[in-house]
């Protein structure tokens, strides 16, 4: 009889325990209801892309030496470099350059290896079109600079979590100009360099902040 009662009490205890766990879970869910939605309402609010964001690739026609390194390092040999050997100046002369961003995987290897830094990544990611052939950007299209999120009057820019000031958890509640937690690379450089040479770097960091 005692054994049976023991079993019953144990069973009851286990049931109570599980009920308590469910209650804890409900408390967590309920707690989430009073938090602010983290939704970024896209066309009206936009996240500021991070510093290392690899968006659409920018191309400067005049810097290109048609070396085709970008084609070699590309995983799928995507960039199309159309050049002609100019006998008069004994140099390759670029005629057309294009990358199809419908196929590009945005690895930015081309940017990494470009010897003249004529390629660079931008923070543009809004590449939707009605026709996929429109994504085949030529040198003119690639030469355009994207709108900065912070400069668009129609858009409320919101910072990503990692760029918020210390102690802040919500991008919505913080101004996007408030200084972020920790130091920016420019500030670190300014601090580590001797005082005499700091004038120019200070200016640089100011520029960076702006």
């Amino acid at each position: 009889m005692l054994k049976f009662l023991n079993k019953v009490t144990e069973y009851g205890k286990e049931s109570l325990q599980s009920a308590r766990y469910i209650g804890q879970g409900l408390a967590v869910t309920f707690d989430h209801m009073k938090r602010r939605p983290i939704t970024v309402q896209y066309p009206y609010e936009k996240l500021i892309p991070s510093e290392r964001f690899r968006g659409r690739i920018h191309f400067e026609f005049d810097k290109c030496i048609s070396c085709e390194v970008c084609v070699r390092v590309c995983p799928i040999n995507l960039p199309v470099v159309d050049w002609e050997f100019n006998k008069e100046i004994k140099k390759k002369q670029l005629k057309h350059y294009s990358i199809d961003f419908g196929v590009c995987i945005f690895c930015a290897n081309c940017v990494e290896y470009c010897p003249t830094n004529c390629l660079s990544v931008t923070e543009e990611y809004e590449l939707s079109t009605f026709d996929r052939h429109e994504l085949n950007f030529d040198s003119v299209a690639m030469g355009r600079l994207p709108y900065k999120v912070t400069q668009d009057p129609m858009v409320t820019p919101i910072r990503e979590f990692a760029y918020l000031p210390a102690g802040e958890l919500e991008g919505h509640t913080v101004s996007h100009t408030a200084p972020r937690a920790g130091e920016t690379p420019a500030e670190i450089v300014a601090r580590s360099q001797p005082k005499t040479a700091s004038a120019s770097t200070q200016a640089a960091s100011e520029e960076d902040k702006a």
């Binding site: 869910t29 989430h32 209801m33 939605p37 309402q41």
Partner: protein, 372 residues
């Protein structure tokens, strides 16, 4: 107990004053409460769908529907209109008759059950002698419709979903009925009106939930399982069965399933409110309020206000449980089919029997508190 306001009598008398015979007046009255109830149930569904979407969003720190009407309140209407205008696809090699009959059989019993839901002293369609038993009996028709839908879809996921739904609703009907039986035992009547009357008089303290805490939990769990809400939504477990018995449905037939499930949820919440939380009873007894405000309890305006407040109370209580159901949906993961059946048969059923026995014993020993 004061009889309150008799709408039917008033309406018929008004019509007779206009020069109609009593027979005609009654005939005009007959369809009105039913129509009102169907409209009310549908609006209740729209509200609950909106709440579901908004609360789900809040629980996940999202915003939810926002631009379709103020606060996205028209989103369920837009859903409904979309579903009505969608093409009614009947897949190849299905059984067209059973395929059409399935959703109808699921929806009709649920709407019928609204016959016995009291929103106030006289705000119910019929005070059936079998009351709450009518609801339990009607809810057992739905599995037939689900099996029909599952079988006729000619799809193995649908078939398994239908079979699971049927198994689930038969096994959770028993604990549900046992929990209801304990309440019925205390109020000595199956009628929903009598069940509420038995709880009125002491305000908050008189509600059945204090006398039947185990029964309440049992009822709520079983009701969630009957409605196929999330911890128990195996019949439409999307990871395993696509959408269960609804897989092949589109357009209006799918809308019927959707409507049926939400009407059922609202109905179950209403039933919890009626059975365990005093229905239209206010948390403070009306007699006490009247004495505080120095008003005669039989004053017409006071009566009208309390009746209106009673309606609001019923809905508030019901929607509180709807809210709880939505919260549970985002808290508890889905159980497995064997866990579900084990839980129903090996835990809820014995607990329900013990609860019934306890209630009977308490009723014999404390007849004043447990409705001797």
């Amino acid at each position: 107990m004061n009889p309150g306001i008799d709408l039917q009598q008033r309406f018929i008398e008004t019509l007779m004053d206009l020069g109609l015979t009593p027979g005609v007046a009654k005939t005009i009255w007959l369809p009105i409460p039913m129509l009102l109830m169907i409209i009310g149930a549908t609006v209740g569904v729209l509200v609950s769908v909106w709440l579901e979407r908004k609360i789900s969003a809040a629980a996940q720190q999202r915003i939810g529907p926002e631009f379709i009407g103020p606060l996205g309140i028209l989103a369920p209407v837009a859903d409904g209109i979309k579903l009505v205008f969608k093409e009614d696809v009947v897949p190849a090699k299905t059984d067209p008759w059973l395929f059409t009959l399935g959703p109808i059989l699921v929806v009709i019993p649920v709407f019928f059950s609204y016959l016995i839901v009291p929103f106030g002293q006289n705000l119910l369609i019929t005070d059936l002698g079998i009351g709450i038993f009518f609801w339990i009996a009607l809810s057992s028709i739905a599995p037939i419709g689900l099996l029909m839908a599952g079988y006729s879809s000619n799809n193995k996921y649908s078939l398994i979903g239908g079979l699971r739904a049927a198994a689930q609703s038969i096994s959770y009907e028993l604990p549900l009925a046992l929990a209801v039986l304990a309440v019925v035992m205390m109020s000595n009547s199956l009628s929903t009106l009598d069940i509420v009357h038995q709880q009125t008089g002491y305000g908050l303290l008189g509600w059945n939930v204090w006398r039947q805490p185990i029964g309440f939990l049992l009822f709520w769990i079983a009701a969630l399982a009957e409605c196929e809400r999330l911890p128990f939504d195996l019949p439409e477990a999307e990871e395993e069965l696509v959408a269960g018995y609804q897989t092949e449905y589109a357009g209006m037939k799918f809308a019927l399933f959707y409507l049926g499930s939400y009407v059922n949820l609202v109905l179950s919440s209403l039933m919890v409110a009626v059975l365990y939380f005093g229905g239209w009873d206010l948390p403070v007894p009306t007699g006490l309020i009247a004495s505080w405000m120095h008003v005669d309890p039989n004053n017409a305006i006071f009566e009208l206000t309390t009746a209106g407040l009673g309606l609001v109370m019923t809905l508030l209580k019901a929607y509180f449980f709807l809210f709880l159901a939505i919260l549970v949906r985002w808290t508890v993961p889905r159980v497995r089919i064997d866990q579900l059946l084990n839980f129903g048969w090996k835990f809820l059923l014995p607990v329900g029997l013990v609860n019934l026995l306890l209630t009977a014993g308490l009723k014999l020993s404390f007849p004043f508190a447990f409705g001797g």
